[in-house]
Amino acid sequence: MANAATLDSDNPLLRSVREFATKRAILLVLIVLVLLTGIFEPNFLSWDNLINVLMITSVYVIIAFGEGPILLTKGVDLSAGRVVGLTACVAASMLQRANYEDRIFPNFPAMPLLVPIAIAIVAGLVVGLINGSIVAHLKVPPFITTLGTMVIAYGVVSLYVDRPPRGAAPIGGLRDDFTNIANGAIPISGNLRIPFIVIIAAAVFVFMWVLLNRTRLGKNIYAIGANPDAAEVSGVNVNRTLTVVYILAGALYGLAGALQAARQGSATNNLGYTWELDAIAACVIGGVSTTGGIGTVGGMLTGVLMLTFMNNALVFLNVSPYWQNIFKGIIIVSAVAVDIRKYIRKR
């Protein structure tokens, strides 16, 4: 009796094509999306637009690289967006131009650029440390822990930017050397240029790739997500690993926050609102399993690219922005529906 399994293994070409298609389904969809939009709107494929999309992607992907490893440990971080907002305001408040009339700290001395950015990263890291310690040691479920810190982070950032009686106002007038980090670029030729922010994101990508694929910490993260008992009895310090994962995420949110403030040239207490959901969506679209232990750095990047390219394509095709949400929702659910075929109990 010939069955499906033997047919498959008989034809290695067919099998590898099929394997590639299921494994990289999202990448294929992404390429098709980009090419199709390019055919309808050639400008979509111009250097200017592609570079613009990559710049938008850069901040989001750094957030996704924080959220992704947490999802790998079977956790979730709802505080990501609010921490980005908090750290954006922290960085911005220290980097206003000296001659700007509405400074939040009127007499703040001018600092070397890296100091406020480092402070933003440390601020994110502290929130991550709090999240991680509560999850690892107090055993509060990550969903609840980060729901709490999400709300708290918003309260803190609102107080931080609050200037009674005016209330919370945007922090503007950011220094040019700061905004240049996010908007500047190394020219190559003509319109082709490499933005600094893309270089930063690429560096984070490489860092994360090595971390998850080549280091003990990375393997511990996968192990904890796939089988926490096995990790424990193998001698993995589960609590410490979990804490480190949240700390790392917080630091990445801090970096993303500073970069976002620089890109916008301002920051408000509402910056980052619901961005954690986009990060989770991107990871999930990119094949990170919410049941833990499965997912790759490349997948997370693909997921973010998918979302940003889709938004951008819809703008190019003159589709109402309201449709973006509808498409996003459909993609999230269908990506997981396809992905989960790989693991579901076949009955």
Partner: protein, 518 residues
């Protein structure tokens, strides 16, 4: 030389002693005042029925649980293990009853997990792979370091567990029921490995409830019963019968099935195929008849399709092809309720997942299926008085030990839960009964009882399929034994026709005609 390549040869751990260990779980005293010791280079067997407290005791030695009272000493020095990492540092390794591996990582990654690396913070996969290959060679543990764990058979996974312990430099290795998942041939290989480990100077704690294994491998044996040490003996100075008595607390007579002439065919399976959970074909072209008044035992190493076959019969898994008929009625595509109406009853392998609802009371669990049938329901109303008296009668008849009918079933012991499920299924007077691992994790008293009930059911004319990994149970109860291998029935033998070894060969995939020659 890399840091993880320890000097080869003896990794010794000194004399380990557990003194007056007490460990309680809610409602159970799993260990009370247990004393246990092991000398360097010794094989010390820990013998006891399911639930005697063997795993609990060893998990304390491995730092997974902390004792409520008592202490652990190595070479007279008191140590406290807060986590397995501490125990590993003290030279203790453990092979768990249910393997603790990460399926999505490779063998080498699993072995290196949680261990220092020569190239920290990076993983030194090359060094680890080489070390695994050396160890595998030395101890006769064949396994591919590059394979993913989910691709491995159960026997291979066990070898990975052993390699993990050796890689961590464990001088004392605890093996928690290592033979439960192996074929008789694999058991032989395992014993060969264990002997090499002893020759290298390792000490072993060998947990089992199988006497002949304990007699074959150990120097000393300690018997646990109900969490207490009944005694510690030198293996060569003790007999099998003495050990049984210590283990069970009374003489046990084997259940005996009266010869019967089976009646008409009640369950007929033809050409049945089905997918497994991994998306591969787990059942291939199964033909099987079971007659009224007959018990057919389904033997095989776990994972060869027995579970899938039971689930197909129970209506929990959809067949790809083939037919199932009960009493002449085709039930291949029937719903659960239709199957019950056709006279099928099912005792599921995962009794807490598929057979009961943890938080529901004893009474509610009795009525999971029959709630809406007469005489318990009239129209949309339930007759609670009738339900209560029925549940009370079942609990009494099957001597289920429970505080009350309203106790949540999760508070009952494994044996009592199983008796209740059995009572529920048998109270429908089924024509066909599928019993999957009916005595797994059940104490010997309840096991005895369940065996008696199965034989009674056989005498009353039910056709019974008994799925079990316990070959002794299968051989004691079955009129015919069907052996499964890789999704097929590789052979069917009559009662008494084949020896344990012959059945073992078939379980390992040797064709029946060849197996029966030996």
């Amino acid at each position: 030389m890399s840091a993880n390549a320890r000097s080869d040869g003896a990794a010794r751990t000194g004399r380990v002693e557990m003194r007056n260990i007490v460990k309680c779980f809610p409602g159970v005293r799993a260990n009370s005042q247990v004393c246990f010791d092991i000398d360097p280079g010794e094989v010390h067997a820990l013998l006891g029925e399911n639930g005697a407290g063997k795993s609990t005791l060893m998990r304390q030695l491995y730092g997974m649980y902390q004792p409520d009272e008592g202490e652990i000493l190595i070479d007279g020095r008191r140590l406290v293990f807060r986590s397995p990492a501490d125990a590993i540092r003290a030279g203790i390794g453990m092979i768990h009853q249910h393997f603790m591996l990460v399926p999505t990582l490779t063998v080498a990654q699993n072995v290196a997990l949680g261990q220092p690396s020569a190239r920290a913070p990076l993983v030194d996969i090359k060094g680890v792979t080489e070390r695994i290959e050396t160890l595998a060679q030395e101890y006769g543990l064949k396994v591919d370091p590059r394979a993913y764990v989910w691709q491995l058979s159960v026997g291979e996974q066990q070898r990975v567990e052993i390699l993990k312990a050796l890689y961590r430099g464990a001088g004392l290795i605890i093996l928690d029921e290592p033979t439960a998942v192996l074929t008789p041939q694999e058991v032989k290989d395992l014993f060969e490995t264990l002997r090499r480990m002893v020759a290298e100077g390792h000490s072993l704690i060998f947990i089992s409830h199988k006497l002949y294994e304990v007699m074959a491998i150990s120097d000393r044996v300690t018997v646990l019963r109900d969490g207490k040490v009944i005694g510690t003996k030198l293996t060569r100075e003790v007999t099998r019968d003495e050990l049984v008595k210590m283990m069970v607390g009374r003489e046990v007579k084997e259940v005996e099935a009266r010869p019967l002439t089976p009646g008409p065919v009640r369950l007929r399976i033809r050409g049945l195929s089905a997918m497994g959970d991994r998306g591969t074909e787990a059942l291939k072209d199964i033909d099987l008849d079971i007659r009224s008044g007959e018990i057919v035992g389904l033997a095989g190493v776990s994972g060869n399709g027995q579970r899938e076959l039971a689930e197909c019969l129970a209506g929990m898994r959809r067949p790809l092809a083939g037919t199932i008929s009960a009493g002449g009625r085709d039930i291949g595509a029937a719903s659960l309720n239709e199957r019950v109406d056709a006279g099928m009853a099912y005792i599921p392998e995962e009794r807490m997942r598929d057979g009961a609802i943890r938080e529901f009371s004893v009474q509610e669990n009795v009525f999971l299926h029959d709630r809406t049938k007469a005489p318990f329901a009239r129209g949309i109303f339930l007759n609670f008085a009738k339900m209560r008296s029925h549940a009370a009668a079942l609990v009494r008849d099957f001597s289920v030990k429970t505080a009350s009918l309203d106790t949540p079933i999760k508070n009952l012991s494994g044996g009592n839960i199983q008796k209740l499920i059995m009572a529920r299924e048998l109270s429908r007077k089924p024509m066909v009964l599928v019993a999957a691992q009916p005595t797994r994790g059940v104490d010997i008293g309840a096991t005895d009882y369940i065996h008696q009930r199965l034989l009674e059911q056989r005498e009353s004319g039910t056709a019974i399929l008994l799925v079990s990994e316990d070959l002794d149970e299968i051989r004691a109860l079955s009129d015919r034994i069907a052996v499964m291998y890789e999704g097929r029935i590789i052979g069917i033998v009559e009662r008494g026709e084949a020896s344990v070894e012959q059945i073992g060969l078939m379980m390992a995939g040797v064709a029946m005609s060849d197996a029966m020659k030996g």
